[in-house]
């Protein structure tokens, strides 16, 4: 196999097909960006789930002056009720850990969370936030058991599942992920068709050469390799471009969006860099397969 010959053939092919190749690379890049975006959204969701699920899962809010729950009857929780609830929680088998958060603690945390919005903090008095027990479950799925057991206990305002609170948000992210996967699928399909057309045009524009190659006994590999590599090269270029676009998105996200998102962590560079091999793999496999099957039809011995 004479590498120099193969490479010069690829160069000739790419030049001859330049407009087609550019179109192919653009479509492929966009589809790969979609794939990568789906991947990164998933990583982000996992990151947030880790962050949140690691924290308190169930909050048992206790009655305070502002409580509207009929359970409280507009009265503050008594010390006795508080102790009862805590003991009951600690003896519930599903519960792993229980933390008490006083009104002062809650206010402290609130101030910390919204330290960039002093107006908001100043409008909230230091006893406006309810005291609560923050409960960690052995198995986060068992929320319903704990909720039903404590919902009607005297002194309990409400039981709130953080997971439930976050569910619409996670659902939204899941939907975004699904949407980008669907778009990616459609785009990849279009890219596959484009590869097939590009290879067909390339094979047609080089039919003299391939005709002579067949005639003088060049092997199939020798005849097809320039076309295969052409497709693969376009794929690699697209994957690199797509990775670049995703990295740029990450930089932009860090600079613009991340400072405003106090409540969670943003994925670090790990998944963003990890997506490149995935995209390379998809691009190369897809374009090689598309070229291969096209060539089998158009460049038979």
């Amino acid at each position: 196999m004479r590498a120099q010959f193969v490479f010069s053939e690829i160069g000739i092919g790419l030049k001859r097909n330049l407009t087609m190749t550019i179109a192919l690379v653009i479509v492929m890049t966009i589809s790969l960006v979609m794939v990568g975006a789906a991947w990164l959204v998933r990583a982000q969701v996992n990151e947030m789930k880790d962050y949140w699920y690691d924290k308190v899962e169930v909050t048992v809010f206790l009655c305070g002056g502002n409580s509207t729950s009929p359970n409280c009857g507009r009265k503050d929780v008594t010390q006795e009720q508080r102790n009862q609830i805590q003991t009951a929680l600690q003896s519930t088998p599903q519960v792993k850990e229980v933390f008490y958060e006083s009104k002062a603690d809650a206010f402290q945390r609130f101030k910390e969370q919204f330290k960039d919005s002093p107006d908001l903090v100043n409008n909230v008095s230091d006893d406006a936030l309810p005291e609560s027990f923050r409960v960690k479950l052995k198995n986060p799925e068992q929320f319903a058991v704990v909720a039903s057991a404590f919902q009607d206990q005297p002194g309990v305002d409400s039981v709130q599942d953080l997971k439930k609170l976050l569910k619409p948000f996670f659902d939204l992210l899941g939907l975004a992920q699904l949407a980008s996967l669907i778009i990616a699928g459609i785009m990849l399909f279009a890219a596959t068709l484009l590869i097939s057309i590009t290879i067909r045009v390339a094979a047609h524009s080089r039919r003299r050469e391939t005709g002579i190659m067949r005639l003088v006994g060049a092997s199939n590999l020798y005849i097809q390799l320039p076309f295969l590599l052409e497709g693969a090269l376009a794929g690699v270029a697209s994957a690199i471009l797509a990775s670049g676009v995703l990295a740029a998105c990450k930089v932009g996200f860090d600079a613009v969006v991340a400072p405003k998102l106090k409540f969670t962590e943003i994925i670090d560079w790990g998944p963003v860099l990890g997506v490149t091999p995935l995209l390379l793999l998809i691009a190369v496999v897809l374009s090689s397969a598309a070229s291969f099957f096209t060539l089998r039809r158009y460049l038979r011995v």
Partner: protein, 229 residues
């Protein structure tokens, strides 16, 4: 070297078979003219030798191999033993004379040093020494056909197939090409040439196989083109 046993070939688009029970035996080193009117089966005959077509019935042996038993990935090896020349030359217009001939070796993976050695030799043989850097459109028809012959012969095939090699050339140029083919034949290469050119067949006095309606109607050693065929 080449043997066809009861070979028939039908195309799905035609009711009459292109070849019908053809028996031909060609020895190593022979020079054979394949004559007959258009549609008599000459081209199908040649395509069978390259396994560009497979016969509907019968067997084709080329260079000691039964082509029906030759798997597809071995077809390139077969074709390396057969050189081909056509009426329309089939040169690559964007390559020089040297590059055109070298291409045939490059694509079968020959080393650059071998190419550099062999290509000038064969260009000298066909009488194109000094014209290596010309482009095909700067050459006369006869010269272009010489390039094609050089490309067909550069890998020293055992068999040379020529499909109307003089069809596009004037008579005096044709004589030059025939002298060249004769010279190649004298190196021991078997030559099979399909032609319509009566003057050439008559002057060469070589073996003549005549096809009509897909059948061999005449097989003469030292034959002539025929009687108004």
């Amino acid at each position: 070297m080449i043997r066809l046993e009861q070979v028939s070939k039908s195309y799905p688009t035609s009711t009459r078979p292109a070849l019908d029970g053809v028996d031909v035996d060609i020895e190593k080193g022979e020079f054979v003219f394949l004559v007959g009117s258009s549609g008599s089966g000459k081209s199908t005959f040649l395509r069978l030798l390259l396994k560009e077509e497979v016969p509907s019935a019968g067997r084709v042996h080329v260079a000691g191999k039964d082509l029906s038993k030759l798997s597809y990935w071995k077809v390139p090896a077969l074709r390396r033993q057969i050189g081909c020349v056509f009426q329309d030359f089939r040169l690559l217009p964007n390559k020089t004379v040297h590059q055109n001939v070298a291409f045939a070796l490059e694509v079968i993976g020959k080393s650059q040093s071998a190419i550099d050695r062999v290509v000038p030799e064969v260009l000298d043989l066909v009488g194109l020494a000094g014209k290596e850097k010309r482009m095909p459109d700067e050459l006369s028809g006869g010269e272009q056909q010489r390039v094609a012959v050089a490309r067909a012969f550069v890998n020293r095939p055992m068999i040379l197939i020529a499909d109307e090699p003089t069809g596009n050339l004037d008579p005096s140029t044709s004589v030059g090409i025939m002298k060249l083919l004769d010279r190649i034949n004298r190196t021991g290469t078997t030559v099979v040439m399909a032609t319509h050119d009566a003057a050439i067949v008559d002057s060469m006095r070589r073996r003549v196989v005549e096809l009509a309606m897909g059948k061999v109607v005449r097989d003469q050693s030292r034959g002539v083109y025929g009687y108004g065929a």
